[in-house]
Symmetry: C2
Subunit: 310 residues, 2 copies
């Protein structure tokens, strides 16, 4: 048995709908889809989570198909499976799912026969595609124990929106709490999935090189599970700018400086000084890293969007 190589996104040879021919969970691991044979979450605090298994292990799970409320790992008695302690973010699986949320990493969802839901396979296991973690929180159960929960939406589905507040697109039809699922636009699915897989690598690399420290102000936004930051394109991607999604076109910024940079309140000179566009003041040098080369053509493109030069 080889070492599990953590990969984010699709695994070649295992398209959506793939089932292990033997029906065994270990074959899911050997295919490279999930690191473990028992634990639900495949991931670490540092790398993020690349996959989860839904197999009926936690009664607080809710499976609506393209939308899942997933319960984290921990606090169960291994023999009786009863909750005997609180869950927390020290658990590497739970911390991994938070990391995947913050970095926008795609998470493979595998459903097993043990799940009591109309979306589960009747036997064995099935790979059901890529999901995004849009929100997490803690819930106090009726027995008083706390569990960590994650709202996950299928990438490319109508619920796949970057602002978690927009999860109210999901309409609960009746008291049985089954959300209304509009028909999915097939052509959009493919486009979105391709995009996410591409961006995730760049985002991860830039944030990691700068350990989530803002390249403009030097601060990090500290969260309970560690520091966080945003990956900001210099020359915007998408029409009409069509900037490339490469590390030389991305900065690691705090959310406030990301807003300032995207709205022209800050720009960069050719020698990477940061200028306050409102006052014209040079407010210091961009923090750089030797392995993060910023391409000057993107800096010039961004500046031309906000400053008239002779």
């Amino acid at each position: 048995m080889g070492k599990y190589v953590r990969t984010f996104g699709e695994i070649p040879g295992c398209p959506e709908g793939w089932k292990p021919p033997s029906g065994k969970r270990s074959e899911v691991r050997l295919a490279g889809l999930h690191a473990h044979d028992i634990a639900g979450i495949s991931g670490t605090a540092h790398e993020g989570a690349d996959a989860i298994v839904l197999n009926g292990g936690y009664p607080d799970d809710r499976d609506y198909g393209p939308v899942i409320v997933y319960t984290g790992h921990g606090g169960q008695d291994p023999k009786t499976k009863k909750q005997v302690a609180d869950q927390n973010l020290d658990d590497s699986g739970n911390a991994g799912l938070v990391k995947s949320k913050l970095d926008g990493l795609p998470v493979r969802v595998i459903r097993g026969f043990g799940e009591k839901s109309s979306h589960a396979p009747t036997d064995g296991y099935r790979y059901d595609g890529l999901y995004r973690v849009v929100r997490h929180w803690f819930k106090t159960r009726d027995d008083g124990f706390r569990v960590c929960q994650f709202l996950m939406v299928k990438i490319g589905s109508p619920y796949d929106v970057s602002d978690p507040d927009y999860s109210d697109d999901i309409v609960i039809d009746d008291a049985s709490a089954i959300p209304h699922v509009p028909a999915e636009p097939a052509s959009r699915t493919k486009i979105t999935v391709n995009k996410i897989n591409r961006r995730a690598d760049v985002v991860k690399e830039v944030k990691s090189l700068h350990t989530n420290r803002c390249q403009i102000c030097g601060d990090t936004v500290e969260l309970p599970n560690g520091p966080s930051s945003e990956a900001a394109h210099i020359q915007a991607v998408g029409i009409p700018h069509n900037g490339p999604d490469v590390i030389g076109n991305v900065l690691c910024l705090c959310p406030n400086d990301h807003t300032r940079f995207d709205n022209g309140a800050l720009y960069l000179t050719d020698d990477l000084k940061v200028v306050n566009a409102l006052t014209g003041a040079d407010i210091g040098s961009l923090r750089t890293h030797p392995n993060h080369k910023i391409e000057i053509e993107y800096v010039r493109y961004h500046r031309a969007c906000w400053v008239k030069e002779p």
Copy 2:
């Protein structure tokens, strides 16, 4: 002729596809769709822009149907229509579109027969639905003059995403620069439009009461067109939290504190003290406004998501 009442969103009696029976622009104004008979943008810096007309006035416009690159107002000689000066954000129409972008206000798009595009009507004017402004920038034209431009996407279309970087969903098929437009999911359109109209009022009111000052740190993020902030729900909307979209459930925060609040790094006590969840330290009182009553039930819901209480 009555005074124009600026209204954001749909106008009763003027559904998408509505055309003025007389074919005249003045009837568009009288119907309450747009404030002016000549200017392209209906809006002010303070209120935001509620509507635009696309009628071929600026050669830098690009109309892809659900996606529009719209050129701002100003700098043209009124007689020759030639560009003779730079555009800027002192213009109330341009500043209004930036305000609509920052506050998420829906903008009515009206196309006129003067537009040279397959999406324009052959005669008169037509109301073509609600769009969102996702990005703005300045472009230097070949003649050296600067124009302000706005990327707008139709609400409910596959391009309607809150993160402007995701505008790369738009695939340019060929050199004619016509983007590929996947079929739109009809059922989703309605849901999204209802949601946006609802949120826009709450967002506008909260930001206005606090003049974009963060209720936690007291800072504002200053942009070239004025201060900016984010409207943050206390009890999250959408499943499974289902918090209401009302002013008593919304805070005016800077992007950094919004990230901290949504990830449990900060929470509020019943007497509206702000607590740093990482250290347990009371870091001061929430800044309040007499006309912004925060409902304590939402504060308690948010706190229960992040703190275990006895």
